[in-house]
């Protein structure tokens, strides 16, 4: 049917769609979940670790979360090799800004820079778009803590809570219900992230083997990016499991208390 308009990124379909861009977003829908939550005192990124192969040598400290500069970090969902190329570019862009202006690059400017590159691949050159969506978390003196999401079309938005990758729609609807506009602290955000991930990941129990998390906060006038250690992540997961078990027990109690109707 509309297959004849698929092969080139640089043409519209009769319905006004860019199929290659949409197929790129499809590719991301199969990748490991990443979610980001904006808090009053910081931002949290959580990501699903996909490569849990026994034979994989665990040399890297972080599989999906990358530091871009002292004030910005990001998490990527999609084709890993595309991600590596773009992350390197982001790091270089941030440093080039610092060299010229002797200041850290404002978060939105870095996002815009990358989105403009991504957009170029949807309009000219004849090359396929980058198959990645990125979640950026950062702090700058203009807008404080920020969370952005960009997709293969080169579009981006500022978010209070969002998710990309596998099962992202379910995660986003959960975030919509649970996110507290007025009072989310880092601690709340971490708990919420674990809660959402445990629903969207298809495992019974969440551990540091499947999930990695990072926070961005301000301490002593400096931005601090912390990639949480396995121990801390396991602790958070354990706390969540306890909460869940407690709620289950309470629910069972309630069921027993209310008499069954015939």
């Amino acid at each position: 049917m509309s297959r004849r308009y698929d092969s080139r990124t640089t043409i519209f379909s009769p319905e006004g769609r860019l199929y290659q861009v949409e197929y790129a977003m499809e590719a991301i829908g199969h990748a490991g979940t990443c979610l980001g939550i904006l808090g009053k005192d910081g931002v949290v990124l959580a990501a699903e670790k996909r490569s849990v192969h026994k034979l994989l040598d665990d040399v890297f400290t972080s599989e999906k979360i990358y530091t871009l500069d002292t004030n910005i970090a990001c998490s990527v969902a999609g084709i890993t090799s595309d991600a590596n190329v773009l992350v390197t570019d982001l790091q270089r862009t941030a440093q080039r800004y610092k060299l010229s202006y002797q200041k850290n690059i404002p978060v939105e400017q870095l996002v815009i820079h990358l989105c403009d590159i991504k957009q170029a691949y949807t309009q000219y050159g004849g090359m396929r778009p980058f198959g990645i969506s990125v979640l950026y978390m950062g702090w700058d003196e203009h807008y404080g803590f920020q969370l952005y999401m960009s997709d293969p079309s080169g579009n981006y938005g500022g978010w209070k809570g969002t998710c990309i990758g596998n099962n992202s729609q379910a995660a986003i609807s959960m975030l919509k219900q649970e996110y507290d506009e007025d009072g989310t602290t880092i601690a709340d955000a971490l708990r919420l992230a674990i809660k959402v991930l445990s629903k969207t990941l298809d495992t019974n129990k969440l551990t540091s083997e499947r999930v990695e998390m990072a926070t961005l906060t301000r301490e002593d006038g400096k931005t601090k990016i912390t990639i949480l250690s396995d121990k801390v992540v396991d602790k958070l997961c354990a706390e969540f499991e306890e909460e869940k078990a407690k709620l289950e027990a309470e629910r069972k109690e309630k069921e027993k208390a209310t008499p069954k109707r015939k």
Partner: protein
């Protein structure tokens, strides 16, 4: 008039026992006129690596900023802190690239190797020829005076406090014999996990 003595300045680094000292004067002048008394010529590249630069002030700022660019990217890519020896190579390469239109600076490096925890000092000339002595390095408009003071005062394996005294006295007395340097001094003592910065009370002339 030499371009290297246009702004004036002096820098010194010394090796001690598991520690290093790096110090500079604070004068920023335009030939004879002193314009600033808070122009530090020492830049931290990371917690354990300090770079001192003397020569043309504009090039001092440019080179330190360009090096920070390189080092930041290095640390992001390689996920580890750069070792002082590697940093020396980066610096030397950056300077030699401008072999026929050089940066008018003479750098001094002082750092502690992140792996071996050994102290490291080095210096280069303006086109990047490296030198890694075991004792001390000096640069600036009063380099000769600094050499004299260091030869007299330095001895191996000094503890941080003794090293601080030695470095301070060497710097202070050398810049007092030079019109282009002085107007205050700053000294950093770098040990594993600790950096102590002190400003010296100097002759303000």
């Amino acid at each position: 008039m030499s371009i290297m003595s246009y702004n004036g300045g002096a820098c010194i680094a010394m090796k001690g026992r598991n520690c290093i000292a790096i110090a500079s004067d604070l004068r920023f002048g335009i030939q004879g006129q002193t314009v600033g008394m808070d122009f530090e010529k020492i830049f931290p590249m990371n917690d354990h690596l300090y770079l001192g630069l003397t020569g043309l002030a504009s090039d001092i700022l440019t080179v330190s900023e360009r090096l920070e660019f390189h080092i930041k990217l290095y640390e992001l890519r390689e996920n580890r802190k750069i070792s002082p020896k590697t940093f020396l190579s980066v610096l030397s390469n950056l300077l030699y690239e401008k072999r026929f239109g050089p940066y008018f600076i003479e750098p001094v490096i002082a750092g502690i190797d992140p792996k071996t925890r050994q102290p490291f000092i080095a210096s280069c000339d303006l086109i990047g020829c490296p030198m890694e002595p075991e004792d001390f390095v000096v640069t600036g408009t009063c380099a000769t005076q600094l050499y004299g003071m260091c030869e007299a005062l330095w001895k191996p394996d000094m503890q941080p406090d003794e090293l601080f005294e030695c470095c301070s006295q060497a710097l202070l007395n050398a810049v007092d014999r030079d019109a282009g340097s002085g107007w205050g001094a700053v000294v950093h003592i770098i040990e594993v996990g600790k950096v102590t910065t002190r400003r010296l009370k100097a002759r303000m002339d």
